[in-house]
């Protein structure tokens, strides 16, 4: 088994096929989208492939050490044009192919007009701990 991170982006990802901002969907469309995501997670829990998932707020800040005795530097409260991550899910699956298959399903979550968004999701393998045998 190997763990993968499925990353959902607010922006920074290529435009989706059904590219309508969420605030222009109907409330029913939003509910359907959320329900799809929850059902997806619940289904993976049943197959024993779910590890964790969280949504992230769109507001974020860059933070940097600014030298001895000084407070860290931030770029202010307002996010600019950074690549923002909307949320993530961690899965634990048998193969890379399975991870891609599941990401494909997640990307089919319904959006405006109840049609799949076809959004781009990022799939990243975890760096595992080393196996008992490497030499």
């Amino acid at each position: 088994m190997a763990k993968y991170l499925l990353l959902k982006h607010y922006r920074g990802a290529p435009a989706s096929v059904n590219d309508v901002p969420m605030d222009q969907w109907s409330p029913e469309e939003i509910s359907a989208h959320v329900r799809y995501m929850n059902d997806f997670a619940a289904r993976l829990e049943k197959t024993g492939e779910f590890v964790d998932g969280q949504a992230l707020a769109p507001e974020g800040a860059w933070v940097r050490y600014d030298g001895e005795g000084r407070p860290p530097v931030t770029d202010g409260p307002f996010a600019e044009t950074k690549d923002l991550i909307a949320g993530w899910m961690i899965i634990d699956v048998d193969s890379y192919e399975r991870a891609v298959e599941l990401a494909g399903e997640l990307s089919a979550a319904p959006g405006a007009g109840g049609k799949p968004i076809h959004e781009w999701l990022e799939v990243r393998p975890f760096l595992a701990t080393p196996p008992t045998i490497t030499d």
Binding site: G48, F50, L127, D135
Partner: protein, 394 residues
């Protein structure tokens, strides 16, 4: 101490229930209930025959759970089906459980989880911690696995791998060994050491099944386990075989592994685990890295390549050839191996370095680091690239 005893008894108790006709999942629940009861009752009074006690309690729990009749009827049933007193022979029973848990209809991940639970007697929480997933996820994985094998049964023919040819079919002992090897290779750890657990289960298997490959796997695990303390520095970084402090190898484990391997090899039925163990034994046998018998190791890799036709084996063989016949020969052997294999770049880098081509070596180490599947390996390869770049800069 009772926990270890309970864990060692769990598989045979479970198999008694399954053999008596209990559905696998229901039997497993009943055994878990009996274990909880044992933990509660035994400290006050330890039964004379712990296994018989567990079987009796578990069977009662099973009956209680499956018969939703009135209490009167249950009491009658209990008397009626009271198992005969005295210890039941459990040898073949446990073997059946190994086969069931490694059933080919399960995915490797499910087979591993079910084996740890049913044969190893670990709790779902312990297994979940070892694999770094939520307990609920592991519970579902295990209960799905139990549903999959429920009603599958194990044919007696499969439980007797001595017959020639049966060793290579799915569902035979080779599948069981693969599952145990997967457990051994897991680097994760919760409060259970999976490598030690795999060794414990393989010892148990070796005690009930007489096959050179079972012995071969046990020897292989012992020989690798013996070197474990020397494989990482205190800060967690990898220490390559050649640089390991051989004083930290566990000589008792090495001696045991070599003894088991020699007995297995003497039976003249070579398999891939015996061949791998032979290579591990040759490494373990060398007082210093320089004294390693690389020529013999290459010969064992040739055997292994013949047995498995595995590209990973050919990759490792190229390393051995490089040591036995020089880096040029190693690179020639490497040329025949698929470059897309994990660690191909790392091997190429090492051989180029030994051949004196530091620029190529540094570039390949950096590429290998980029593709490394785990942090310790990535850090190690990055350091190698950095070391060569620093040397070339001077």
């Amino acid at each position: 101490m009772d926990e270890l005893l309970l864990r060692s008894l769990t598989p045979s108790v479970l198999t008694v229930l399954v053999r008596r006709g209990a559905d696998f999942a229901a039997a497993e629940d009943a055994v878990q209930d009996a274990l909880v009861e044992a933990v509660r009752v035994w400290p006050a009074e330890r039964p004379r025959d712990p296994k018989g006690w567990l079987v009796t309690v578990a069977w009662r729990r099973f009956l209680d759970a499956t018969r939703a009749d009135a209490a009167r009827r249950r009491r009658e049933d209990r008397v009626e089906v009271e198992p005969a007193p005295g210890p039941a022979s459990a040898v073949d029973d446990t073997l059946q459980l190994y086969f069931l848990c490694a059933h080919p209809s399960l995915t490797p991940a499910s087979a591993v989880a079910l084996t740890l639970r049913a044969v190893g007697g670990l709790t779902t929480r312990q297994i979940a911690e070892a694999y770094l997933v939520p307990e609920a996820t592991m519970a579902q994985r295990i209960s799905r696995a139990k549903r999959t094998v429920s009603g599958v049964g194990v044919s007696p023919a499969r439980a007797k791998p001595r017959a020639r040819g049966s060793f290579d079919r799915p569902g035979d002992v080779a599948t069981v060994l693969r599952v145990l090897y997967l457990v051994f290779n897991e680097g994760y750890s919760g409060d259970v050491d999976l490598a030690a657990e795999a060794i414990r289960l393989t010892r148990q298997l070796a005690a009930i099944i007489d096959h050179p490959e079972v012995a071969g796997l046990l020897a292989l695990m012992l020989l690798h386990h013996a070197r474990r303390a020397a494989r990482t520095a205190p800060d967690g970084s990898l220490v390559p075989l050649a640089e390991q402090d051989r004083g930290r190898w566990d000589t008792a484990l090495i001696a045991e592994g070599v003894g088991i391997l020699q007995a297995a090899l003497a039976r003249d039925r070579l398999g891939e685990f015996q061949a791998q163990a032979a290579i591990a034994a040759l490494h373990a046998d060398a007082p210093t890295a320089e004294e390693t018998d690389w020529v013999q190791i290459v010969e064992w890799y040739d055997e292994l390549a013949r047995l498995t036709d595995s590209p990973v084996v050919r990759l490792n063989r190229a390393v051995a050839v490089g040591e036995a016949d020089g880096p040029r020969a190693g690179l020639a052997a490497l040329a025949a191996v698929d470059a897309a294999l994990p660690r191909h770049d790392a091997v190429a880098a090492y051989l180029h370095e030994r051949d004196g081509d530091l620029a190529t070596a540094a570039r390949l180490y950096a590429e290998a680091a980029h593709k490394a599947p785990n942090l310790a390996e990535r850090d190690h390869l990055t350091r190698q690239a950095a070391r060569l770049n620093a040397r070339r800069g001077r």
